[in-house]
């Protein structure tokens, strides 16, 4: 075993985040917990530097650390996206935390560690490193979810998340152990080679694949293991919900592509049908449940379940173009969902509506607050999947990949579900622009929210109109 400078520079974004997290803790200690704005600043700068380090790695392809880390387009693209998500979450959190009276400096180091875990996950080239990344991310999130200690909903959400998360991790780990028993190695490449040589499935292999699939289904919250996610999304502090419905989901999906799409591809015929049914049921469940919600936070939680269903279509399709499409859709989904949550958080600070997240709070805001109205409209159109947004192209690429590989039923199911989904997304726009404002429409307008909304809506339109650079990055490197 030997390590060179190339290895060190290859994982520079991760190293920067480690340093950032430690510095943030020290800064928080130095400020004696009175004021966390310095901690926030350190974290935001750390995310920017780490993002630049990630982007500077564009085009380098290979393996690092004696084959433990993939250095490819997926790694590069998602490192950059996670840094963006982390940065925006860090800058729009203080206003919300202040509004909710959560004054804890550890929020920012935990956010950093969670992003670090996500980066380790997407880069991992073996199951152990993936598991360590997953747990780094999850354990930080358990604390973030229950950070609002005085609120019993937050604590309850944290407990539910921890029990379900640890339970599913145990399944995942047992799957890894049985895979180790069958293959004799936990490297993705060794697993692929083993099954290429011998694509028959013994009982141990079936058990391993089933356990891994169960674990992943919990983590990406698809039917029948989706029940925890809505409760957790509702109970967690809203900024944490915005973060965890985007980054961790994207990270889990990238690993899902790497493990099931690539490593287990030689035996794909055994689980494709099952995964197709999971995809269809997830879409239908998410959309039908979202229709009857009166709470925007819960509506977005169910909508993110439905989007997990669309994303699974890309994994079922299972060729390189499909994975690139899924990668593009994941990026688009992360941006639009983060934006939608950021907008909803600020709407909910409207006078007299605190904490309820009712749809009524949106009434008549479109004309009173043009920036909020326009950006939330862009996010909703993108979530529906209408041009010229990134959400449209994401769905187009994923569904056309499904048709090309002969999964026409899945594509049709996806399209029908997108039509159902239109109803509840459009309701947001209708309420903003066509309902009469009730009472006071003043809402606080902190600068970070304006930056977040502008950056995200511009990015969604930009990669929606010029998708080429993103999609070619994903194709060149889709494993």
């Amino acid at each position: 075993m030997s390590y060179s400078l190339t290895d060190i520079f290859g994982v520079l974004p991760e190293l920067i985040l480690v340093v950032t997290a430690i510095t943030a803790i020290l800064v928080d200690v130095a400020s004696k917990g009175k004021d966390s704005s310095a901690t926030m600043l350190v974290t935001a700068v750390g995310f920017i530097v780490s993002g630049i380090a990630a982007i500077s790695g564009v085009g380098t392809i290979g393996v690092l650390m004696n084959g433990a880390v993939f250095q490819d387009g997926f790694t590069t693209a998602f490192r950059a996206i996670f840094c963006l998500i982390g940065f925006l979450t860090a800058i729009f959190s203080p206003a919300y935390l202040h509004f909710r009276n959560i004054r804890l400096g550890e929020y920012y180091p935990l956010l950093t560690m969670s992003v670090l875990g996500m980066m380790v996950m997407v880069g991992a080239a073996n199951l152990l490193l993936f598991f360590i990344g997953l747990e780094t991310m999850s354990i930080s999130l358990y604390i973030l979810v229950s950070l609002n200690r005085t609120n019993s909903k937050s604590i309850e959400a944290g407990m539910k998340y921890l029990v379900m998360g640890a339970f599913s991790s145990a399944f995942m780990l047992y799957g890894i152990a049985l895979m180790f028993a069958v293959v004799g190695s936990i490297n993705y490449n060794d697993i692929t080679n083993y099954f290429l040589a011998d694509p028959t499935l013994g009982p141990l292999t079936i058990a391993a694949v089933a356990l891994l699939l169960t674990g992943f289904s919990f983590k990406i919250a698809v039917v029948p293991f989706q029940f925890w996610s809505v409760d957790v999304y509702e109970g967690a502090p809203a900024t944490v919900t915005a973060f965890m419905s985007t980054g961790p989901k994207a990270a889990a999906f990238v690993v899902f592509i790497r493990v099931f799409g690539i490593a287990l591809h030689p035996v794909a015929s055994h689980w494709t049908l099952l995964l197709s049914w999971i995809a269809i049921l997830t879409m239908v469940f998410g959309n039908v449940a979202a229709l009857r919600q009166t709470n925007i936070k819960r509506m977005l939680a169910y909508s993110s379940i439905a989007h997990a269903g669309y994303l699974l279509v890309g994994i079922v399709a299972g060729n390189h173009a499909a994975f690139a499409a899924t990668g593009y859709y994941l990026a688009a989904y992360a941006l639009m969902n983060l934006g939608a949550f950021a907008a909803v958080i600020i709407v909910n600070q409207r006078h007299g509506t605190d904490g309820s997240y009712r749809f009524d709070a949106l009434k008549g805001l479109g004309f009173a607050h043009p920036l909020l109205g326009i950006s939330l409209t862009i996010f909703m159109l993108s979530l529906i999947g209408l041009p010229p947004t990134a959400g449209f192209l994401g769905k187009l690429y994923v569904f056309s990949a499904a048709i090309e590989t002969g999964h026409i039923v899945l594509a049709v199911a996806g399209l029908l579900n997108s039509i159902i989904a239109t109803y509840y997304y459009l309701r947001v726009i209708v309420l903003m622009y066509m309902a009469k404002p009730e009472g006071d429409t003043t809402i606080p307008r902190p600068l970070p929210y304006a930056i977040t909304l502008i950056v995200l809506s511009v990015l969604i339109l930009l990669i929606g109109v010029f998708p080429e650079p993103v999609i070619s990055l994903m194709i060149a490197v889709a494993p």
């Binding site: 152990l128 598991f131 360590i132 747990e135 354990i139 358990y142 604390i143 229950s146 200690r149 019993s152 909903k153 604590i155 309850e156 959400a157 944290g158 407990m159 539910k160 921890l162 029990v163 640890a166 339970f167 991790s169 145990a170 780990l173 047992y174 890894i176 152990a177 049985l178 180790f180 028993a181 004799g184 190695s185 936990i186 029940f227 809505v230 409760d231 509702e234 109970g235 449940a289 819960r298």
Partner: protein, 101 residues
């Protein structure tokens, strides 16, 4: 009787099953966390047995990482449990009924 790899795998499968049943059927949150620990340790046993019988040291290395992760997870879990105790005065999952779909 010679003790083979299959015996160890069977034992850890049984332990894992007991853990799963514990999580699904028990009401006390501490017992649920103990059951999760049992599941993780059953997996550790699998790894050690595999490492021993296939002379592949990787399995033992994995166990160290899993032990660390399990400890971190349970530390956070107990902290949240104390917070729940302060709020609700009980440690049963029946106290987690505020959030419902």
């Amino acid at each position: 009787m010679q003790i083979e790899l299959a015996h160890y795998l069977l034992l850890s499968a049984v332990l894992f099953g007991i853990g799963v049943m514990g999580v699904l059927t028990r009401k006390n949150l501490i017992v649920i966390m103990m059951s999760i620990e049992l599941m993780l340790n059953a997996v550790n046993l699998t790894f050690i047995a595999l490492a021993r019988y296939s002379a592949n040291i990787e399995g033992q290395v994995i166990v160290f990482f899993v032990l660390c992760i399990a400890a971190a997870e349970i530390a956070v879990g107990l902290a949240i449990l104390i917070a729940i105790w302060r709020h609700r005065g009980m440690m049963s999952i029946d106290s987690l009924k505020q959030l419902k779909w």
